[in-house]
Amino acid sequence: MRLALGALAALAVAASAQAGPDEDKLVIDGVEIATEAQAPEGHPLDKLYSGWRFRTDETQALQMDDFENPAMVAVEYGIELWGKPAGASGKSCADCHGDVSELAGLRAVMPKWSEAAGRPLTMEQWINWSIETHQEAEPWKWESQEMLGMTALIGLQSRGMPVAPDMSGGMAEWQERGKEIYYTRMGQLDFACATCHEANAGYMLRADHLSQGQSNGFPTYRLKWQNIGSLHRRLEGCVKDARAEPWKSGSDELVAIEAYLATRGAGLMIETPSVRQ
């Protein structure tokens, strides 16, 4: 028995030695982007780490060179759409917004309160609002290549800027609702988001190195998907993994979780479009 305990202790040491993020630095075309941040006071985590720090060297490398980053195909498509007239107005995004770089910083404050809607809107919802209101065109589907191209392109303008959502006013309620869901254990497996991404971040869950579940890299190119995908698609996968009934993309619940995730990751740098496993 004592021997068994000794062996256990040795195993525990071995596990803790590999647990946690690696020490690699994210440098994209010569520009370093910080992948960790000190958590503000009262935050459930001591230090915040980008999901990039939990990935293999091979996956990390794909994000370190924009020519290697497979999400850049979507960005190229986004550029094409940006200049393309659409709808009854015959206007393109560029006609009103000018160069897409004018939207630098926008991704970092998502989701953002809309006075008109009386609720927060995610980047996808803002884009569709503008398409319907300004272009007078048909809105895009959440996971369409058009939407992913545009969210990737607009998000890229904020790459390297800190996540800084504004949770004042009506946002507080949404953030609180998101937090409530984050800590609710659900599904046949009875997992909350926090079960894996707070209590066990850094450890291996079968073949997966659990990250903190940060949202700063979305939309992300996921190797498993062989495609770029939205945060809501990823959240759907997580909920299904707990064998719970997923919410639909764009649902109030997922918007609330997105709002809460933004506050959990405040201070981390936007990495859109990131590359993950």
Binding site: M1, A15, Q18, M186, G187, C196, L205, R243
Partner: protein, 150 residues
Amino acid sequence: MRARLIAIAIIGAAGASAAAEVAPLAVSFTDGAVAESLTGVAGDPAEGRKAVFTRSMGNCLACHQNSEMEEQPFHGEIGPPLDGVADRWTVEELRGIIVNAKMMFEGTAMPAFYRDPSQAIRIGKQYEGKTILTAQQVEDVVAYLATLKE
């Protein structure tokens, strides 16, 4: 005639074991342990071993390292290793931990493998009315774990 009698006896035994199966809500815990077999049928360690590594069954390897099945790739690190687990826990305690570990370890990440599905929040449609493991699979896993001595 003899063959028919044996067949009747087997059917009788199967019928009795099904009737004797303890429903999830009827499982009785004492300090986190479950003394009574859930089925009255001895667990099969070989079946239990399979349930431990198979992702659609127990998938215990998702969280637990287990030297006895090194041929299986990817052992998790969330829970303690299974090595020597039978030295640390009795069969009754192991059964209790598999059925619902929260009865022994409050707040543990470990799922309850034989919990009444109505207690789950927002359970996925395809899992409605189902426990993660069947009563017999729990007994099989317990029988396998009981072999893990150092």
